[in-house]
Amino acid sequence: MTIREKLLGMLPKGRHAVIGVPFFWMLLFFLLPFAIIIKISFAEADIAIPPYTSLTEWADSQLTVLLNFGNYVLLSEDQLYIAAYLGSLKIALISTVLCLLVGYPMAYAIARSSKQMQPVWLLLIMMPTWTALLIRVYAWMGILSNNGLLNNALLWLGVINEPLQILNTNIAVYIGIVYAYLPFMVLPLYANLVKHDLSLLEAASDLGAKGYTAFWKITVPLSKSGVIAGCMLVFIPVVGEFVIPELLGGPETLMIGKVLWQEFFNNRDWPVAASLAVIMLLILIIPIILFNRNQAGEMEGKA
């Protein structure tokens, strides 16, 4: 065997390379960082570069491992952090329900429209998800502000006598989240609803179940996996949302994404930011696993 052949033999073979390249990339840049974030969450903030202490120390033939639980103690004792976690969960839950209530009828209407119109409706739903979120949120700032378009219109119509404070309240945050995440609810629901066998509804109708009964007894249960996918695509990212509460929310809007951002960028306390992220991950791990299994089920079911 020549050296060249030996070297070639060491290169991964077709199948292994196809699996290996994306596997290694995701392992290095997605999974490994979580291990590091857990490690840093046990460090102490320090005035240095990088701004945290090292966990291990080698001195006098002794390896000292110093785990600092102070960050977690701080998180469990400070009311601000607990309120921020609860606030995030509450806002995420309410906005997911709102998205479902608005998005389900939309997805249903698209799935039942003519074959020629379906791609057009879908494009109209998809297009905003490809345009800058920041800009779409910013557009609402101009509409909702005290002397903005909405207040001016309501004043002109005589519905209200003085401007309503909408911007910098939780109402604005809900509007922004529903607005930004609605397409992520509609698309998986549509993908599910369009696959339904309409003969089931015909059979139900022949047997006397019409309209609402058939809808609640057949369509809704069949769309379960679409509902799960849509709700998870909204709920999980919203828990950590930063841009929308920052721009549309006010002092009453306590969300963990915003707190983490402030700890990191304003207080430059990396370890506390890391432990905030670890706790958030622990809260979200069950919904994420649920989402992954639902997604895997979809993939294998169709294969």
Partner: protein, 282 residues
Amino acid sequence: MKNFRFSRFMLIAGLLFIYLPMLILVIYSFNASRLVTVWGGWSTKWYAGLLDNTQLMNAVLRSLEIATYTAIAATALGTLAALVLTRVGRFRGRTLFGGMVTAPLVMPEVITGLSLLLLFVAMAQLIGWPMERGVITIWIAHTTFCTAYVSVVVSSRLREIDRSMEEAAMDLGAKPWKVFFLITVPMIAPSLAAGAMMSFALSLDDLVLASFVSGPGSTTLPMEIFSAVRMGVKPEINAVASLILLFISIATFLLWFFTRRAEESRKRAMAQIKEQERASQA
């Protein structure tokens, strides 16, 4: 059906809800008045002023550069991942792989951003790379989460297509990579284009990841816009925002139009071949 009329109404209302704010934003970018809420007549002065803003223009160029690299890398990686998920059978770590590919779709960006930054810092300490955070680190961050989107789009397409062509080519002795490039790629081309376009747009739009992993002097367009927006609504930002909306809408529409046309002509060609086969058999 009563049910149906209600859902139709919701669809129209929902689309209005989605598009009206953007329309208002574009209209107000032509407002002559500096006060964003008062209409002062039509004007294009905010657009003219943009060209003189070199800081903003540099950020635009940097963002476009990163978005281009991201679209290329994420499409390649995402297609490989989709192939693994749909064509390669069982292997050790498949569940882990599936999880790693789909999890970035829902992972809050603050977590991904912070964890990637900590990884880069640890790597710089250990192996001395990356010494400076900037375009490369932002590109890595964007590629990682865009790969997830591409693999979802491409794998749904890979499951749809008729596998008999691939199998026939394999039976005739074509190597797997040849089958992939000559048979599979043309059939999944629309989804590759959609995936690349989506990655480009997502990268151009991302604020959170870029803020965490960028270094001094590598401000991207969303970071530039965000720091301006924090101070309130400004007419210049309305103009930039309108240009971005216009750019992405045109690109999306063109992509949609051409893939649809290509798809239709492919279907027609397939139908024709089947027709000929039937004719020759008769």
